[in-house]
């Protein structure tokens, strides 16, 4: 089996939902994947997290053979150590090395590919037409909802209202890197 480690809850989060939709889009067998929901990014950085303990146990049991870690870049301006694409990549690589799973692991840092910051919602947001994107950005910039969770929730709501029938344009180039990482996981 393959493991995908992501933010939010396994089976009950937006991140999980998008990853499953992408697997379906790529015709990859979801039943071969075990999802580990880490909640927030900070939990990825704790080596003694029970999710890592479970993951290592399942590797030792020959159950898990390859791993993909999917964590948000967030913003360097909010967190100089762990925020932003490069910092996130550095910190995740560190923990992968500490756990001794570097030979079977790959990373994907979720972000707006153009700005190299943000989260899963930013990636989705990057896939919609420029005009609509600007409208939503203007609204979010004017709103008082500054916290990450508020921002993400509103972004989701707006997106779902604007695109109720076709939720994600997985053919958009924004998804290419993640699609490639998921394909590699199965190879």
């Amino acid at each position: 089996m393959y493991a995908i480690l992501h933010e939010g809850k396994a089976n009950k989060s937006e991140d999980n939902n998008i990853l499953k939709l992408l697997l379906k889009e790529l015709d990859l067998d979801e039943s071969k994947v075990k999802f580990f929901g880490f909640g927030s990014k900070i939990n990825f950085l704790k080596k003694d997290n029970p999710r890592y303990k479970e993951l290592l146990t399942e590797i030792s049991e020959d159950t898990i053979s390859k791993i993909l870690l999917v964590a948000d870049a967030d913003y360097e301006s909010n967190d100089h150590k762990y925020g932003g694409f490069e910092n996130t990549k550095i910190e995740l690589n560190k923990i992968v090395d500490e756990l001794g799973i570097e030979n079977i692991s790959d990373l994907y840092v979720t972000r707006d590919p153009k700005t190299d910051d943000g989260y899963m919602e930013s990636l989705i947001f990057a896939s919609i037409p420029q005009k609509q994107k600007e409208c939503i950005e203007n609204f979010l910039n004017c709103s008082e909802f500054k916290s990450k969770e508020n921002h993400k929730a509103i972004l989701n709501q707006i997106y779902n209202m604007a695109y109720p029938k076709k939720p994600f344009d997985f053919n958009h180039s924004s998804f290419d890197e993640l699609k490639q990482k998921l394909t590699n996981l199965f190879n």
Binding site: K9, A10, P50, E54, T57, S60, E61, D62
Partner: protein
């Protein structure tokens, strides 16, 4: 428990185990895994390891585990009045079945090997610091029970063992506790007594032998009584869920977790049941009882066996996130 808590085990040349190690055991340990991955053999090896007190106890453990597995065959042969099985008339056979076994834990180290060369046949034993070599012609084949090391196999335990284990409840005046537990299990059960050398329960105003009641009643009495008998020792339970409706499993775990703590008993139990594992996780959380593990036995790609030990935190994580851990 600090002094007698078995924390790790090393098993060599015993049944499906060639060279096996596992560590991280706690006071209560539930063992799961698919068929034929050595769940029962695993608890049998630990059972043997904790029988290093003397040679008679060690022989009892080596032969006892074989006899338990052969219970049905023994009964079938007795009932059909065929020639008795070799294992009944010949303890030598059951002992030699375990030739070459080696176990080591933080408590004991022991082995049994047969030396058979040049017309000389010897039994070689190691019990911790003591090495014993005995010519087979001089071997007594006497056995001795270690009272606080108990094994409940998947058929339960016979009447005489129930009566013996119950005496440990009587000695500390806990008869009412057993009656209360039985009442909670089935509100039509009023009391447990030994009448005419038979274990009996009162139901609808009359006493019935426990073999006439459901398997669950007998198994529950066995588990409670054996927990008291195993004070400061070890209790092994094969297929713990046998006879219990899944709705009673929470109560069963509550009993095991509570009494094993009070009586300082280390428990190793096997299961095939998802409900049983979920119940174990739920009750240990409710009781805030963290001295627990779930051990998943698996066969690795190279054919060797592995014990994946999950501590309290991992058990809770797996259950909360709906991870399949059977």
């Amino acid at each position: 428990m600090e002094n007698n808590l078995l924390e790790y085990i090393e098993i060599k040349d015993f049944k499906c185990f060639k060279d096996f190690k596992a560590e991280g055991f706690k006071r209560v340990n539930l063992i799961g895994g698919k068929n034929n991955v050595g769940k029962t053999a695993f608890i049998e090896a630990i059972y043997i390891n904790v029988h290093s007190k003397n040679i008679k106890a060690y022989i009892q453990s080596l032969t006892g585990i074989k006899l338990m597995r052969e219970t049905l065959n023994i009964l079938e042969n007795l009932i059909s009045k065929k020639e008795k099985l070799k294992i009944i008339k010949d303890l030598k056979y059951t002992l030699e079945f375990t030739n070459n076994i080696y176990t080591k834990s933080n408590i004991n180290e022991n082995y049994f090997k047969i030396y058979d060369e040049n017309g000389i046949k010897e039994y070689n034993f190691k019990l911790n610091d003591k090495k014993i070599n005995v010519n087979i012609n001089n071997f007594s084949f006497e056995v001795e029970d270690v009272k606080n090391v108990c094994f409940i196999d998947n058929f339960g335990i016979p009447n005489n063992q129930v009566i013996h284990a119950y005496s440990y409840i009587q000695k500390i005046d806990k008869e009412l506790l057993l009656n209360k537990i039985l009442k909670e299990f089935d509100d039509e059960l009023d009391a447990f007594k030994i009448i005419d050398d038979t274990a009996q329960c009162k139901k609808y105003g009359n006493y019935y032998s426990i073999v006439e009641l459901g398997d669950g009643t007998g198994n529950l009495i066995s588990i409670v009584a054996k927990l008291f008998q195993s004070k400061d020792g070890y209790l092994f339970i094969d297929e713990i869920e046998n006879g219990f409706h899944y709705t009673y499993l929470d109560k069963l775990w509550e009993i095991i977790l509570t009494i094993s703590k009070e009586q300082n008993v280390q428990v190793f139990a096997t299961t095939h049941s998802k409900e049983c594992i979920e119940s174990y996780a739920r009750v240990s959380k409710n009781l805030e009882e963290k001295d627990v593990t779930y051990i998943k036995m698996t066969k690795l790609k190279d054919g060797s066996l592995n014990a994946g030990i999950r501590d309290y935190e991992m058990i809770q994580y797996n259950i909360n996130d709906d991870h399949e851990v059977r």
